[in-house]
């Protein structure tokens, strides 16, 4: 490691080599061992700044905050589950309704007007079947 790189790392990450990028720590330690006076001169100013920055501590969040978040999360999940049940119910109702509607449309389209389709050409008595769907002609065969 060059002195310039050592100084650049100190300027960015502070005076503690342990907090420098992991892939440069070994080289930095080797540089320091090789020339402790030069290395410590570079680190000294940063150590002072590190100590100053450490004075700004912030209070920990109150215990009430964690409880509030947990309760809110549980409440939201309950609302979400109820919503999911409602959606499932609506989906089922929709499927049933659309199935019924499709069935009705199919019956209306596939069944000819006036009665069922004729599949036989003779009646059980051997008489020829009159033209299908013409109920008026059935009396002629009796």
């Amino acid at each position: 490691m060059t002195p310039e790189r050592f100084a650049a790392l100190a300027a960015a990450y502070g005076g503690a080599i342990d907090r420098w990028p992991a892939d440069e720590r070994d080289a930095a330690r080797a540089f320091r061992e090789a020339d402790p006076a030069a290395a410590d001169a570079i680190l000294a100013a940063e150590v002072v700044l590190d100590a100053a920055l450490a004075r700004w501590a912030v209070p920990a969040p109150g215990a009430a905050l964690a409880g509030r978040i947990a309760r809110d999360a549980a409440r939201r999940r309950a609302v979400w589950r109820r919503g999911r049940l409602w959606l499932a119910g609506l989906g089922l109702a929709g499927a049933l309704a659309s199935g019924g509607a499709i069935g009705a449309v199919l019956v209306a389209r596939l069944v000819p007007a006036g009665g069922a389709a004729c599949s036989q050409s003779l009646t059980v008595l051997g008489a020829p079947v009159p033209s299908c769907g013409n109920a008026a002609n059935w009396s002629d065969t009796l």
């Binding site: 100053a52 920055l53 912030v58 509030r68 809110d72």
Partner: protein
Amino acid sequence: MGRMPTGWAGRRGNQRKAGTREDMTDPDGDPDADLLARIGMGEEAAFRTLMAHKLPRVHGLALRLLRDSALADDVAQEVFLRVWRQARAWRPGAARFDTWLHRVALNLCLDRLRRRREVAVAEPPDQVDPAPGADFMLARDAEARRVERAVAALPARQREALVMQVYQGLSNIEAAAALGISVEALESLLARARRALRQQLEDLRP
């Protein structure tokens, strides 16, 4: 929130920039992955455990960036509700959860700061330092407020970089990912921030 965090299914971002040094962290070994899987299955105890580990850090980040405890509470709450809602979609390996957490918290803080600027509410005036030497605790408080003001006076990106690296203890890659920048850019921001702070705080000796 403008930038989407990575780590969630279908959301891959720019956490790694070309040409940067590789991280020392192994995303495959994310220590929070198991906890997240349990949270994804709706286990409230796992959620509470995660909060016990992470809430102080998230809250501290918000407090340092916003300097308002009520807003910091709001941000922390929003961050963890997102975790609770989205844990099921977490995919280990895309990004460390802790990095994602910091990025979400940072973005929410930036949203709050933007809103504060938009409504043109002036920042609360800094409190007047107590008389120096009144007692040890007061002096320490005054020094802490000096540091706080000096950090707050930094340009926004320098402040964010410094808070991530110094106070949140993120590695260089994690901090760069949280900020959405390269490691080189992070180093530049940190160096400029520290240079400014050295000038302002040089009389604060250990």
